[in-house]
């Protein structure tokens, strides 16, 4: 028997308010984001569905293969949810990992009325299973579009330690809407990969400020690459998810054509900008160089004023 441990019990809502989304595990993010006690996991760790490929490389497995999927309630309405564990293999997509998300998306497509939250925390494809990971991502992209076509709202939440890189960035670009926080990053190639391939003059991967200006949450929000900026708390992301669920519309050809215009406009307006600060200045922000230091609430107000969202064009 354990010696009794006295600790003050924090209500879940209080914990959600004070827990950093970035620092929390995938399981904690789900536990605190959804309505208390509502989460039911599918193929959880007790099922021991580990990667069949890691033992070739003598790499330890994780029982849930680094992704937690299931169903719960958000503000009393059912949602499907998938959360990647960014600290296991960098949250990267492997065969089993990807398949769990695909199954969830296919169920959502059939049910039509239950939204799906994807809590991205990934470096992209898991190299040890590169072909299976890449294929899983391609299947996920297809499954997201089929679900959206059936009327499902697919919301991406980005704020984990591994960011949303590689194929994860492409899946994010297929979502109905995205919320991102200050620590979140969205890109295709990672900073080190760009530096290795193109040299440090092209991109100094150790310049953290540069990485965040180029790929980080604030820039993505101002660029319109993400729709809502969230404070780095689980409550912040819960609120962002609810906000986006209330805003997202149906997917159709009009939306795709609007996105073509949105992206072409972006290229035309900012295609010769050297740095994010130049883009923010061009968007009409005075003292753009102060953006990185701006606290979340002030930044959110500023971003909403600028008005660049991808609503109806994603």
């Amino acid at each position: 028997m354990t010696a009794p441990i006295k600790h003050t019990v924090q209500l879940p809502a209080e914990r959600a308010r004070t827990t950093s989304f970035n620092e929390a595990s995938a399981r904690t993010r789900i536990e605190l984001l959804l309505d208390a006690g509502s989460f039911v996991e599918f193929i959880g760790p007790a099922a021991r569905e580990v990667s069949p490929h890691l033992k070739i490389f003598d790499i330890p497995e994780q029982f849930d293969d680094g992704i937690v999927v299931g169903r719960g309630r958000l503000d009393n309405s059912p949602v499907f949810i998938a959360a990647q564990e960014g600290r296991f293999m960098g949250g990267a997509f492997g065969e089993v990992h990807g398949a769990k998300l695909i199954g969830l998306l296919r169920a959502a497509r059939e049910l039509k009325s239950i939204p799906l939250l994807i809590l991205f925390d990934t470096g992209g494809v898991r190299l040890q299973e590169a072909n299976a990971g890449e294929l899983a991502i391609a299947e996920i992209m297809r499954a997201v579009m089929e679900a959206r076509t059936a009327g499902v709202k697919v919301i991406g939440l980005i704020g984990g330690r591994s960011g949303c890189y590689g194929g994860g960035g492409l899946i994010a670009g297929c979502c109905s809407a995205l919320a991102v926080s200050e620590p979140g990053r969205i890109a295709v190639s990672g900073p080190e990969v760009i530096e290795t391939n193109r040299g440090v003059e092209e991109f100094d991967s150790r310049d953290r400020a540069l990485v965040w200006r180029t790929m980080g949450g604030k820039h993505r929000r101002l660029l319109g690459a993400a729709d809502v900026f969230a404070d780095d708390t689980v409550e912040g992301f819960r609120d962002a998810a609810l906000e986006l669920l209330g805003l997202v519309g149906t997917f159709d050809l009009d939306r795709l054509e609007a996105e073509q215009l949105r992206l072409a406009d972006r290229l035309r307006n900012f295609g010769t900008c050297e740095d994010a600060v130049d883009i923010w200045t061009a968007e009409g922000i005075a003292h753009a160089e102060a953006i990185p230091e701006l606290p979340a609430d002030q930044f959110i107000a500023l971003a909403n004023k600028i008005g660049r969202t991808s609503r109806d064009a994603r």
Binding site: T2, E61, Q62
Partner: protein
């Protein structure tokens, strides 16, 4: 990778009625512990897959200590270890027991 296995007889069963709990993440210097209430009350079992080879004696000592302190009767612990230090292992085992003794399922 190395597989290790331990069985212990203990004084009493772990509290509570929860059937499973999970804690931790598999990463360098970290580990995950899956605990399941599936054994007879006086028994305890630990199955370990570890990336750090050759530390059998350290595991033996850490586990003997843990079992003596917490008497986790009825529990099977399945561990995937990314090479955690002994104090991290002890912490996760204690967290696992605390979780499965919590109210709820």
């Amino acid at each position: 990778m190395e597989d290790l296995s331990f069985q212990h007889r203990v004084r009493e069963r772990a509290d509570g009625t929860r059937r499973t709990a999970i804690i931790g993440v598999v990463a360098s210097g970290n580990l995950e512990v899956l605990v399941e209430r599936i054994l007879p009350d006086a028994e305890c079992q630990l199955e370990i897959k570890t990336a750090a080879v050759g530390f059998g004696e350290v595991w033996t000592a850490v586990i003997a200590d843990f079992v003596e302190r917490y008497s986790p009767g009825g529990l099977k612990f399945s561990i995937n270890d990314g090479g955690a230090r002994p104090d991290t292992v002890s912490l996760r085992l204690a967290q696992a027991v605390r979780l499965i003794e919590e109210d709820g399922q």
